[in-house]
Amino acid sequence: MVEGEPAGSPERERRIVTTEIAEYHTIPSARRRLLIASKWLLQAAIVIVVAALVIWLGLAVREALARKGIHFSFGYLGNVANFSLSEGLVPSREGIWPVLEPFSPSHSNLQALFAGLWNSLKVALSAIVLCTIFGTLVGIGRLSTNWLVRNLCFGLVEAVRNTPLLIQIVFWYFAVVLRFPPASAASNWFGSLLVSRSGVYLPGLVISESAGFASWGLLAIAAASAVACLVLRGPRRRLILLAVTTAALIATALVGFPLGFDLPVATRFGARGGFALSPEMTALLLAIVVNSSAYVAEIVRGAIEALPKGQWEASASLGLSRSHTLRDIILPQVFRIVLPSLANRYISLTKDTSLGIAIGFPDLFNVYGTVSNQTGRNLEGVVIVMLTYLALSWIISACVNALNARVNGRGAR
């Protein structure tokens, strides 16, 4: 609609009528019919040509594979994989209960692909959380009043954005992670974090054997009210829910906490207990987090600069400090603006996990390559992998869109 012109204005009405007359009444009807027919013909012709091209491509590939004795079918997915992966969990059955277990060569090809997807998601999800935190910090650092911090952040962002991600990944792997001390001399951070070239070990969560039904129930109540406290609105309701959470947590602690920390203990060739990150995973995660943080920093900085300056001036005139302003006035507004850009970043980050193949990390693309090398089934494999990546992109943008609708829905400008 043209600006400054109300929908029902006579001027607009007249123009619509004039256009209609021009389109439908000045052209003789026979010619008009011919025009419409030719339009339909054109549509049909284009669809047919493209469909024919795609079908021809598919058939030609299929035929070429058939000549090598490979016939298009997804049956190979059920066959035994016969290769091993350094990490990855697969769904399996234990009695009637579905469980996740480590991948072994006796699993099927489909389970191998699942293990690859599991590994990709493991890296992608951790990287999404970490790069959002670090990226925001660096983005704020870019606007710091401290000259040194400002320029350091600028240098970091430019250095990361102007070099290929692949060299960053191989650098982190070959020049950093593989140069960590060997497992027998792993550096120990506060007794809970072990760093060695055979992996990084974090404290893990374990379920204590003695936990009774009551403590689990109380913990569930605490978790449910904590989630409700985050989701529901209204200060009074929130206060009540917060009280419920605290009370339930205290009660759980009295009955006996069902979860405990499992600290890693160094051994000669690695570590026992705790939550282990393989060297490949460590390097890939470090590289992707640092790389994406730089992009997130630019998104956050751009959004902060795009806010009206009046916001800063108004809070300064109200006597708010700079950090207070940033935390309570600026960042809440920034997160409304940046969500769509962040969604794009998260999608590229998920696709970037496919570079793990350069350092031997068994992600989805790497496993696809192994499976299709072993079975010769590239066509089926690429269909699966492509659909998986498409689905991942859609899921990420759907999640962010839902979040976007929520934060921009109520109380927003």
Binding site: N162, L166, K351
Partner: protein
Amino acid sequence: MSTVALRWLHRNLFAKPFDTALSLVVIPVLAWAVYAFAHWILVDAHWEVVGGSLKVLMTGIYPADQLWRAWFSVATLCAMFGAGLGLSVRPGRAALAVAAMVAAAIAGTIAAAVGVSASLLTIASAALGVVAWVAVHHSKCDQRVVLAGLLAGVVAIFVVLSPPGFEVWGGLLLSVVLTIAVSILTLPFGILLALGRQSRIASVRVISTAYIETMRSVPLILVVYWIWIIVPLLSPDTSVPSLLRGMAGYALFFAAYVAEYVRSGLQAVPKGQIEAARSLAMNSWTLNVDIVLPQALRVVVPSLVGQVLDIFNGATLVFIIGLTDFLRAGQMILADPQNSGRTYEIYVFLFAVYLAIGGAITYASRRLEAHLARGSR
């Protein structure tokens, strides 16, 4: 003088308690890091490994007796770069001095690392670039002539480099030539896709949109690898070199991104322009080629230059189809047991070169953006 310095320090580093605390933490750490790095670069590092393997890093396994072809490409690239500069940047004294200093520094390094003849050839190439820069700027010739010249340059590089076979292309030369060729190939395809996505014919619109969205949600490495696999299946009788298959993969992938940039440019063209052209009874071809695209492309030139950086960075993925680009050449050198202790030297050199080229492209993109923004007002 000292009061000015003190005031600067106070304002920029110690303005508030929080800033002071930050500075007190950052300054010692930074000073130590800079000292350690500088000490390593000047004293500890063994740079002979880079000098000794410069030929592999730059051209991969290109036959040594055919290196004149590589030098021809370097000279042509310099001339093309200079001609491109001539279109947008005035060769003022300061700019020329900077160019001369950069060329002298590179030539000096090469003279120390490889030999005098290579250094002389570098200087000659740089001089050719400067001549092209000044000539294009002063001749005031039409942009189209210069663009045609650039295209001819690319063709010439391909023709001269190809006789020893595409399999032997490698190193930085491969990365650069691949980037340039793919950047050019993506343009027409990307523009067609962008126009298709805005077409009035529904089927064209749907197909273009589906193509763009699919390509944008799968990883580059998958597309490149798959095209590389699929081409021999489609043409079992002729063998298409890996390089060309790889280029096709990159072009198909990046065309989707170019299409999105171009579409943003198309949306920036005022509707009145299209209506005016239609009321003059222009057909769709004339309308797009003479009215819409010149205005749309002008807006997206900075983004397209930024896209060249994405292609250059993506060019490292050619390892998946068995080609030896700059990064892969570095890794091959490190795979040699006698160089195993030189990891940091090689990686620092690779990072430095990538950063120099990437920084130059980013700078060019920002300059163009500022240049075009000034022109449109």
